[in-house]
Structures are given as C-alpha cells and as structure tokens.
C-alpha cells in the first residue's frame, strides 16, 4: 500500500537488449537457479527415457531366479552388476526405472496436454461468451467434479481395459474440469479489462479476441497448474498401477515398479524407494520449471 505501484513498473529499459532472443532466454534461465535445475533434470529424464535401451544394463523384464532381492551395490551383499539391486523376480531395478520413465512421462505429459486443450478451450468459450452456454458447460464441469477421480478412473479402466491409451484418456478426462474452471475464472476477469473492450470497439472478431487478447493473459495460470498437474498425473498413474488397474506387465512404469515393491517394504526397502525417488525428483523438477515458465512468459518481469 505504501509504494506507488503504478510507478514502479514504469522504468524505461534501454533498447540494448537486442541480442538474439535465445541468448536472452538463456540468460534469464540462468538467473533463476531453480528453473535451471528443473530444466536440467527434466532434460536428463527425457534423455534417459529416449536412450533407455542403450543405457539400461539389462532387459527390464529379464527374470533371474538366482539373483532375487539383491540389495543396492553399497549395501552388504550388493553387487556392482545391479547398481540399484534387483526385485523379487531378480529383475534389475535400474533398468526397470529407466524403461519405466518412458511410460510415466508419456502418460503424464499426454494426459495433461489432452486435459489442457479440452479444459482451456471450454474455459475460454464458457467465460467469454457467458450466458446459457456458460451455464450448461459449467454444470457439466460440476457433474464431473462430483465424481471422485479415482472411482471414475477405476470404473473406466475396468470397462475398457487398462492400456497406455485408455490411461492417458481417463487421466485427461478427469483433469480437464479443473483447467476449465480456472481458465473460465481468469477469462471472466480478463474480459472486463479495457483492452478487450478496446479490441471489441475496433471490431476485432470474437475468435481473434479470444486468441490474441484473452488466451495470452490466462496462459500463465494454466502453465503453473499444468506443470503441477503433470506431477499429480504421474502420481495418479502410480496409484492406479499400484491398485493393479494401471499399466499392465510386461510394460513397466514407475507406478508399476512401486506397486510390485509394496510387499517387500519391510524386508527389501530398495524395491519401492528408488522408483519413489524417481517420481519425487521428476515431479519437483517439473514444478520448478513451471514457476520459471510463468515468470518468463510475463513481459513485465523482463530485464
């Protein structure tokens, strides 16, 4: 309340910053330490997902009855051969995590993209046009919100059968409502700003107004939620796999490995700990990246 805010953002920056926009981005990324870490970690995770066949020392489904429940290499009885140990069937945990990242990332990202497109579109339309259309769409959203996500997913998966595609679909369907609500709310407030009025006064077509004036101004909140949502989706996939309705063997996912390890939590901690760690690190990195993205997408924070 004390500083006169209107002034604080008025500083006129020099037009020196004309270097290539790539360099500016990198510079600004470097300024945000958490953003740098987030991007770096995600880069590594994606790289390992792609290069899993090259990096993995073993076939993730190769059973070796002679080497069941080998602990990680630094523990007593561990071996360099299986860096993170093996599971109850003698499968190499490191290889399984490397392969599992492929499915987990694929499911996490695609279902958020699906939910995002659907939710943002419906939120924009509903908020911008208002009226009857808005009422109908928002009632549908309410109806979706009234169904517990996990229950809906379980029923859906039970009916259509668990597979990567159905999983992406079901996670997308359960998530779009939160985007729709948030984007609608933001749209309602942005719609009232004078620049939207100005665009309408000029005679800009509604679709153009939505794309050019409203979307860019609601996208930052979308990005923040969607990064968080990639994180929760990875966890949700893990839970579904944990309940046995997620990714089915022989395909490996982080949730699947975690679920396999649950019976051995007391005796062989490494079975569940390492996939859990992989999930945690990835989720944190995505959240860091989301924060940074929100900042750089706002022209006001430049310079």
């Amino acid at each position: 309340m004390v500083v006169e805010h209107k002034n604080s953002d008025q500083h006129l920056i020099d037009s020196k910053t004309n270097g290539s926009s790539w360099k500016i981005w990198l510079k600004r990324l470097w300024k945000s330490k958490t953003g740098t870490v987030g991007l770096l970690v995600i880069f590594i995770v994606i790289l390992t997902a792609i290069l899993a066949p090259v990096l993995a020392p073993f076939n993730p489904n190769e059973i070796d009855p002679e080497k069941m429940l080998v602990p990680p290499f630094w523990s007593e009885g561990g071996s360099i051969e299986h860096l993170l140990g093996t599971d109850n069937l003698g499968r190499d945990i490191l290889s399984r995590i490397l392969y599992g990242s492929r499915v987990s990332l694929l499911v996490g990202i695609s279902s958020v993209v699906l939910a995002g497109i659907l939710g943002v579109f419906i939120g924009l339309i509903s908020g911008y046009y208002g009226g009857f259309l808005d009422t109908i769409l928002m009632r549908i959203v309410d109806a979706f919100l009234a169904i517990p996500n996990i229950l809906f997913a379980l029923v859906f998966l039970a009916v259509f059968g668990p597979s990567v595609v159905t999983l992406i679909f079901v996670l997308g369907i359960t998530n779009w409502v939160s985007y729709a609500r948030i984007v609608r709310g933001e749209t309602l407030s942005v719609k009232e700003r004078e620049f939207v009025k100005a665009a309408r006064a000029i005679g800009v077509k509604n679709m153009m107004i939505i794309m050019r004036h409203i979307l860019p101004n609601v996208i930052s909140s979308f990005i923040v939620i969607s990064t968080l949502s990639v994180a929760t989706t990875i966890i949700m996939e893990a839970s579904l796999s944990f309940l046995g309705l997620g990714i089915q063997p022989p395909t490996v996912s982080w949730g699947g490995i975690l679920s396999d390890g649950r019976d051995y939590l007391a005796t062989s901690w490494w079975l569940a700990t390492f996939p859990g760690l992989a999930i945690t690190i990835t989720v944190l990195a995505i959240i860091f990246l989301g924060d940074w993205l929100r900042d750089i997408l706002d022209p006001r924070t430049k310079g």
Partner: protein
C-alpha cells in the same frame, strides 16, 4: 448553428455545418435482479457537427459512459435511433456497418488496463489496421511509424511492451490506436482523468492538434469540468440518464440555466485562493439518487434548491430556450 462557433482557437475553424452524428430518443435499460430495471440512459437527443468537440459531463450514474459505449456498439441500445454520417445504424447493410465501426473509435480512461500487456506497442497500434484493411506488412509498419510520430512517441518504442511506459505515454499509444484508421468520430472516455496534472495538459493539447491534423470529430466524456471546458466547443450536461442542458461552452459556464449545471459549475474548486471566500457556492445536499429508483417528475427535483410543486409531478423536456441553448427545466436560471 454555425455562428455558435465564433472562437478563434486552433482547430475550431474546421467545424463544418454538417451533422455527423444524430442521436434521437436513445435509451439503454439493464435488467437487474428481481425485475428491477436500471435506466442508465433514459431518452437522450443530441447532434454532433463534423469537426467539433462535444463534451459530455455528469457525475457517476448519469449515463455518459453508457452513451459512449452505445455509440461504439459495445452495448446494444434498448430504444432510439443513431444516425451516423447520414445513415441510420439500424438500417445499415453489413458492409456499411463494418465501415462505420472503423469510422468511430474510442480512447479509454485507464491507460494501464486499456493496453494488452502481452502485446508489443506496434502490434497494439496495428491491430485496427490489420482488422479493417489488407495492407502488407511493410505498409502496416510504415503506418505504425507515422502514427508513433503523430502522437509524439519515438519510433523505437514500437518494439516495447506497455509496462515499460508511463501513464501519459501509454495514453499516447491508446490515441495512436484510436486514430489508426483515420476515423471520423473519436469518443474520448475520460482520457485524462487517470493522469498526472502536468501530463493532462500534454494529452489535451495533443488531442487538439490531432483533431486539426486528422480532421477528427470528438465526443469528450468526463466528470472533470475544467478539462471538458478546455477542449469542447459545446457541452451536454447529463443527470441520471438524461441531458439536462446543452449549449456552447462559454454560454454554459457564463450563464448556466439548469440548476444542476449551475451547482456543478460552482462546485469546481478553482485554482485561485483569492476568490475562495467571495465565491458563491451552491452546495447540493444529499446524494445522487440511484438509477434503479429515479425520482418522479423532474429527476433533479430531490436535490434542487429551487424546487416547486410542478417539478415533482411533471418531467420537463429538453427545449431550446435561447438560440443554441437547450435546457430541461421549468424554472431556468439566468434567462434573458
């Protein structure tokens, strides 16, 4: 009506004896909860001549901004006709309608919210051009540069974002956008009320220069009388959705006929301490009534110091009492 404009100041010699805009019986009602009707604009008539500046003043709830929004089609009118450039807006073809949209532009009050923070200045100014013409990229770019020159901004500013500018500079950007299509009529909705005092004069002078340069006609909506007086040729005073008085600016300030105008003029704090104890002030009692509950008869009677019985029963209509001076009052003041 021509000889009303006998001032010599710049820009005012271009007023033509041609009616650009004619508004008749314009009404805008809003339905709010519980079957209540908010009468924002309740039957107004006025004309605007080519090249003049018509000021519209009034306090909150008088309907001045709603009027502006109706003229620019941001709102749909409830009743009445708007004839622009000789064409009735209700009877326009689609093409004529599109053309008229380009011909009426608006400058907004808040320079902070009227510019999209995610767009570069040059894209903001180019938007009307892109919407209404099929110019090439280079032509648009040249045009944007010319507009930046016209409003006194450096061409290099085109690549920046709005937040890098001060309020006055942002208002210049908004003005460049409004005149980009060379409109006939520009509606200025409180364009200086959000600006610092020293910047207000800059913007007012800029508007007057542009009016001459681009042959613009202005409707200048404001609640601050000094600014309206400075820029306008004629002024309409609104109260609760109606025009109560309309005349040339000198006439309005020297001999206001409607008691409301009289009190409005006397209420303006003047920058001269020597007259503060001598000046006769008519301080109105009470608040402005709500648009949901407009007083019967003359809508000003509840606050009028000269109220008579008839004022509570009958509503006076706007009629020309002297040449070029229309008033809606049964007992006008300062009548010759």
């Amino acid at each position: 009506m021509v000889n009303l404009q006998n001032q010599s100041r710049n820009g005012q010699d271009v007023i033509e004896d041609k009616i650009l805009l004619e508004v008749n019986g314009l009404k805008k009602y809003f339905h709010v909860e519980k079957n209540q009707i908010l009468k924002a604009v309740d039957g107004i008539d006025f004309t605007v001549l080519q090249g003049e500046t018509l000021g519209i003043v009034g306090e909150s709830g008088c309907g001045k901004s709603t009027t502006g929004n109706l003229l620019i089609h941001l709102l749909d009118k409830t009743e009445g006709t708007i004839i622009f450039n000789g064409l009735d807006m209700d009877k326009m073809t689609k093409e004529e309608m599109r053309k008229s949209r380009a011909d009426i532009q608006m400058i907004f009050q808040d320079p902070y919210s009227s510019l999209n923070p995610r767009m570069r200045v040059k894209d903001i100014i180019a938007e009307p051009i892109k919407t209404h013409t099929k110019l090439s990229k280079k032509e648009i770019n040249d045009e944007v540069n010319r507009l930046l020159d016209a409003v006194g901004l450096d061409r290099s500013y085109g690549n920046r974002y709005p937040h890098e500018f001060s309020g006055g500079q942002r208002q210049r950007i908004g003005i460049a956008r409004a005149i980009a299509l060379r409109p006939k009529l520009v509606i200025c909705d409180e364009p200086v009320s959000a600006l610092d005092v020293s910047i207000q004069a800059q913007i007012l002078n800029l508007l007057m220069r542009l009016q001459k340069e681009f042959k613009l006609t202005f409707i200048f909506i404001a609640h601050g009388l000094p600014a309206v007086k400075y820029i306008s040729n004629r002024i309409a005073v609104m109260y609760l959705g109606r025009i109560v008085e309309i005349t040339t600016k000198n006439e309005l300030f020297e001999k206001p006929m409607h008691p409301y105008t009289e009190s409005l003029v006397s209420a303006v704090p003047l920058p001269d301490p020597t007259i503060r104890d001598k000046r006769e002030r008519i301080v109105l009692q009470d608040d402005i009534p709500s648009n949901l509950n407009i007083p019967t008869g003359c809508r000003f009677h509840s606050r009028c110091p000269y109220v008579q019985d008839i004022c509570k029963m009958k509503e006076p209509s706007l009629s020309e009492l002297e040449k070029g001076h229309q008033v809606a009052c049964f007992f006008p003041r300062n009548l010759n």
